[in-house]
């Protein structure tokens, strides 16, 4: 699928379930969480990563900005990680609404959007003090 969006220009927003994730974190901290390096939040809630599918525009931007990989490589990354038992694979969604819904319903969930979410049960995490990065 060809994407016309310039990943460097597109802004992403980190959202989370109200329970588990902190309200702010650093970009490096976000990348570490997104690469499965942290399994539990500070309150003990299990980290659940929710991403847009890599073949979506948001997903592709996410792969570039967070993982600095292509979408397929992100999948192989997570495939290896999950099969090795080091982390649970992310939940890949087809739409932003689905992503928001899953984050809202899953305690400890953290997801990446291409806009600021206004949905209920979702909080926006400030990365490096910003809503978008």
């Amino acid at each position: 699928m060809g994407l016309n969006i310039n990943a460097q220009d597109a802004a992403l927003t980190a959202i989370s379930n109200p329970k588990g994730a902190p309200a702010t974190m650093k970009m490096s901290e976000l990348k570490s969480i997104m690469k499965g390096e942290k399994q539990r939040w500070s309150d003990g809630t299990k980290v659940s990563i929710v991403l847009m599918k890599t073949n979506t525009a948001t997903g592709e931007i996410t792969c570039q900005k967070i993982y600095n990989m292509s979408g397929d490589k992100v999948k192989r990354f997570w495939l290896g990680l999950s099969f090795s038992g080091k982390a649970d694979a992310p939940t890949f969604c087809n739409s932003l609404a689905e992503l928001e819904s899953i984050v809202a319903q899953t305690p400890g969930a953290i997801g990446i959007l291409d806009r600021v979410s206004t949905g209920t049960g979702i909080k926006t995490i400030l990365v490096d003090g910003k809503n978008s990065f």
Partner: protein, 525 residues
């Protein structure tokens, strides 16, 4: 080499059983094992392909749990050893001119694969690989299953084959026994019965109530033997009848022959009788002349002699001897006295000869009387004397005939035939006395019968000969000297007169014939 039916049956059964055993123990199991292995390989390959497809779909959907789910698709399969997910990577060199393809193991299911893998030898594992390609990566699913179940299946097939072969073998043996009992034994029984029938025992029967061809054969055999027995019985009856007929025919032929001989003999006797009667008749007249003239001749000669004597007396009384000296001289020379005596003697001799000749002629006439199937009154004593007269020359001077005749009534008979009987018996009696001897002839009346006994002092005969002397053609005489019909004919003649003839004899003590003839005959035979 003779192979019996029983052996053939057993060879057939054994061949079938062995062929079946070969197929069931070797061929079918090997084929089934091959099919089983092929099916097993196909099944494992299909499972591998299914898992591979599931992984591919899950990867496309970025559903990593789905990948795991696909890999654990066969988790409940008891045969499962492990499922490997291989990732195929192409690595280019720095110049991007050449590359190498390498597989790296990404995931193995279940987790304890290593342990399970080690518990199996390479020969007990079937490993199938199914490659897939997706946007994310190229890889392959490798599924390994144990062949223990195949071995178990093979073992089960072999065990089943062995049991089936055993069952077939037992069934084959039972069928063999059954066939032997239902085919071989009845056939052998049939053969034995046929052998005995061939030896002549037609009471043989084969018991077989089966409705098959053997039973039909047994029934046909029994019917054949029964028919054969019936035919033989009829044949035996026919043979007996034939033998009886043959015997009767022989007897008839013998009777005919005897009758023919009797007829010939009777004809000869009749001819002889006619000839004798003719001769006797012709002789009778001249003899009568002689006999009738002898007495007048004697009287004439007596008168002549008386005349001569008277003439001599006159000469002597008148002393005329001198005057008749010449006559006296003739008398002296002629021996007149001797002549006179000789004349008397000659006349007596002539008379005796004439009397004797007359008796012979009378005997011939009596003996040659022609019988014309009519009983005639005849004297048995006269018949005996006539016969003795005719036989006189054969016994005179050596055999003394001692007669003891009673006064007998004349009997109804065929006189010529009765004479023939006496001729035969007396001839035999004379011939049985080699030198000198006696023949005792006795006649007497016993109620309504006349009995005659003729006993000789000849050589006699054995019992064996005695029993056969009345048989036609039996003779003890030299060839050409006897026909063997004399006593046989005599027996027939006495039978014809309703009488009896018996013979008593001992070797060296002579023979006695005893004859009984009824005085009167009721019918003319």
């Amino acid at each position: 080499m003779r192979i019996t039916l029983k052996t053939k049956i057993w060879l057939t059964i054994l061949t079938i059983v062995l062929m079946f055993s070969f197929f069931s123990l070797y061929y079918f199991p090997s084929q089934q094992e091959k099919y089983l292995l092929d099916n097993y390989n196909n099944e494992v390959q299909n499972l591998t392909n299914t898992i591979s497809l599931g992984v591919k779909i899950a990867l496309k959907d970025e559903n990593f749990e789905g990948v795991q789910t696909a890999m654990s698709f066969v988790k409940d399969d008891q045969r499962l050893l492990f499922v490997n997910l291989w990732v195929t990577d192409t690595t280019w060199d720095n110049d991007h001119k050449s590359f190498k393809v390498s597989d790296s193991l990404l995931k193995t299911y279940p987790e304890d694969t290593v342990n399970r893998h080690n518990t199996h030898s390479k020969n007990s594992i079937i490993k199938k690989r199914s490659e897939f390609a997706s946007d994310m990566m190229n890889g392959a699913i490798e599924l390994a299953v144990t062949t223990e179940y195949i071995e178990m299946g093979k073992k089960k097939i072999r065990t089943t084959s062995l049991i089936v072969s055993g069952v077939v073998f037992v069934i084959g043996i039972l069928i063999g026994f059954w066939l032997s009992r239902n085919i071989s034994i009845p056939v052998v029984a049939l053969r034995n019965a046929a052998d005995k029938v061939g030896e002549g025992d037609l009471t043989q029967r084969v018991i077989n109530e089966s409705g098959d061809e053997i039973g039909d054969l047994a029934r046909a055999f029994n019917k054949m033997v029964a028919d054969l027995a019936k035919a033989r019985e009829e044949l035996n009856k026919a043979n007996i009848n034939l033998a009886t007929t043959n015997e009767e025919l022989h007897k008839t032929v013998a009777d005919l022959k005897a009758a023919q001989e009797q007829l010939i003999q009777a004809e000869k006797m009749a001819s002889l009788g006619q000839l004798t009667a003719g001769i006797a008749h012709e002789l009778n007249n001249p003899i009568n002349f002689v006999t009738a003239n002898i007495q007048p001749l004697k009287d004439d000669m007596a008168d002549l002699i008386k005349f001569i004597e008277s003439y001599d007396e006159i000469i002597r009384k008148n002393n005329l001897e001198n005057k008749f000296s010449e006559i006296e001289k003739v008398k002296q020379d002629g021996n007149i006295e001797f002549t006179k005596k000789e004349i008397n003697n000659l006349l007596k001799g002539i008379e005796d000869g004439a009397t004797r000749t007359s008796e012979i002629v009378k005997g011939l006439k009596n003996f040659s009387r022609l019988d014309r199937n009519v009983f005639k009154k005849a004297s048995i004593n006269d018949s005996l004397d006539s016969t003795l007269t005719l036989l006189h020359n054969s016994f005179k001077n050596r055999i003394e005939i001692i007669k003891s005749y009673s006064d007998l009534p004349e009997v109804d008979c065929f006189p010529g035939q009765i004479n023939q009987v006496f001729m035969n018996i007396l001839s035999n009696a004379i011939q049985s006395i080699p030198a000198e001897g006696k023949i005792f002839i006795k006649t007497w009346q016993d109620q309504q019968n006349v009995k005659i006994s003729i006993r000789d002092t000849g050589v006699g005969m054995t019992d064996e000969v005695r029993k056969k002397i009345f048989d036609p053609f039996f003779t003890t005489k030299e060839v050409g000297k006897g026909t063997g019909l004399g006593l046989s004919i005599s027996y027939g003649i006495i039978q014809k007169h309703n009488g009896e003839i018996e013979v008593f004899s001992k070797p060296g003590e002579g023979t006695e014939f005893s004859i009984r003839i009824p005085v009167t005959q009721q019918t003319i035979n």
